[in-house]
Symmetry: C2
Subunit: 350 residues, 2 copies
């Protein structure tokens, strides 16, 4: 399988399947691990990084889970391909910069991704669409156990796994859910909900992780504390809080249907009208309008469009996806025109 084959299907995190997938877009757990007696990536010399890369690659090749997966050295990927993987939530932004001696391994289903020489030597993630934290956690645990058979991890009996950044010490685990919360935004309850979430030691981020805005009403919520907690407690705690957020969003949606049907119908169809007709459109406007359409679909206002189709538009209109579709590098201005054209064509055909 080749990287370009991914382009033919919706990204895993946007499949729109799994429990509560009308609100919880995707669930993700990643583990940070480092090889014992080796400097962390940022301090390692080139040959040390290369040694780490080869050792982890070797361990991956022996993994049953990752059999037949795709392995790439990051410096051999084009800039567009790196951005493409970021857009598909398979690679971090940090991993795409200073690419030498970095690598990434992806299973064919885009469920598993292992980054080598990111901030930590190994950053392994499992991601699935829908509200599946427990499944996702069980799977990453198994992969971790497999890799651990061939790798000697830096581990302290007192602290747990040792990591480059102290916030990851302990379990090395970060669990997160990507939520679509348009009704909480519409009803202006979102800040209250997010403040409550923050007080429970969870971090809230935008569509593309740290430092990005919550575009298109997508919010990524993850645990902050990694030290002094058991893995199951992290998962259990996140799941409970996410459940509450889901209930709040559901009730806000019911409230909109009861009280603001006309207004939300107007907003939904205006979004559709703009997407079907625009000749120039930015990525952020696209995200915002597709979010409105997604809510319209979820509320039964738009009956002839399905969520999977909306999700596909969301991913293929991202900058690197557009450039891979067009098979050439495009300036931001050219992208805005091509994006509008692709959206028009797909929506008017649908």
């Amino acid at each position: 399988m080749k990287l370009d084959d991914l382009l033919k299907r919706t990204s895993e995190w946007l499949k729109g399947e799994g429990p509560k997938s009308e609100i919880v877009v995707s669930s993700r757990v990643r583990l940070a691990r480092n090889l014992d007696k080796m400097p962390f990536s940022h301090w390692a010399k080139p040959d040390q990084k290369e040694e780490v890369l080869q050792k982890v690659k070797n361990a991956i090749e022996k993994s049953g889970y990752l059999k037949g997966s795709m392995f790439f050295r990051v410096d051999e990927l084009s800039e567009v391909d790196r951005q493409f993987l970021i857009e598909r939530h398979l690679m971090s932004k940090e991993h795409a910069t200073n690419p030498r001696h970095k690598a990434i391994d992806l299973d064919n289903k885009e469920v598993v991704s292992v980054m080598i020489n990111e901030e930590d030597h190994v950053r392994a993630q499992v991601m699935q669409s829908g509200f599946n934290l427990l499944d996702v956690w069980h799977m990453i645990e198994k992969i971790d156990a497999e890799l651990a058979q061939h790798l000697d991890y830096a581990y302290s009996a007192r602290l747990g796994y040792l990591t480059a950044c102290p916030t990851n010490v302990g379990t090395g685990m970060r669990a997160s859910c990507m939520l679509h919360l348009p009704a909480l935004v519409f009803s202006k309850q979102i800040n209250k909900v997010l403040q409550a979430v923050s007080k429970l030691n969870l971090a809230v981020r935008g569509l593309y992780g740290e430092g990005t805005e919550a575009t298109g009403n997508f919010f990524q919520i993850s645990n902050q504390v990694s030290l002094g907690l058991k893995e199951e407690d992290i998962i259990d705690n996140l799941e409970k809080i996410m459940n509450q957020v889901v209930v709040r969003e559901e009730s806000a949606r019911a409230g909109i249907l009861a009280k603001n049907k006309e207004e939300i119908t107007d907003r939904t169809f205006r979004a559709l009208g703009t997407l079907k007709n625009a000749y120039i459109i930015s990525s952020s406007e696209t995200n915002r309008l597709l979010s409105n359409i997604r809510l319209g679909v979820d509320l039964g206002i738009l009956k002839h469009i399905d969520r999977g189709f909306v999700n596909e538009l969301l991913i293929i209109t991202q900058p690197a996806h557009l450039q891979k579709l067009e098979k050439k590098v495009l300036s931001p201005k050219e992208r805005d025109v091509i994006r509008a054209q692709i959206i028009r064509e797909r929506l008017n055909k649908a």
Copy 2:
């Protein structure tokens, strides 16, 4: 003919016919006249106003031009009907308030309108679509001459016609053109052009006269000075300046086609998408979007829509027109919903 019959056709000022009608929407000349030895309307007692009303009505009945015209006492018109006439540019806002002892006479083509006991005893106007100042002036002169056969006007050999407001003394004439100047607005040249126009002693107003904003890129430009000039000089001067404004707008349109084709296509189709899909829309947003569509039609970007159709949407979506179409009084919120519905239906049928 009845007032409601007007609803079946486009308003004269929006017919979209006549010279340069892609820019000069309509041309209008009105004359202010007062009966001799009678106090001006604002100072007249009820029986004096009634006497004026009857005298002018009598003169109108003897006019050949106004044969078969519709005569209404303003206090016998409903509020919606008064607003309806304002929207059709047949009655002034001032004439609709304090309606007692006021009247209006309209010819069946909506070209001629005579208001009785507005600020002046007689305010007669002729309006035609397109750039027709000379024709319009010749016509109002003839009507004025007819009425003068049966009315004794207040006239001073030194000053000319005497009027309630000193700005109208002299000819009592105000000539104006309604212009659609979207390209000058788009290219940000409009302020410079309007400032130049103001320095030439012309006044610039919005769609509904004094004190209204230039909604939908419509600008009404009229003479300010009435005293010390001959009628033909007023007309000639206005015509020359309007010609220059028309040339500037034409050149701005050519510039847009050469340099901003994609941007203006985007704006045109977005406007169409919104109008075809919105469920709630205000009058001012409608005007703005229809202005974009009108420009798209004029530039050949929208080929399947004609200007007359756009003009008709512009008039029937005005508040009183909507209420007359629906045959009931509607709150502003109800109007926004009905307006959107009518626009959707007509545009999707077109």
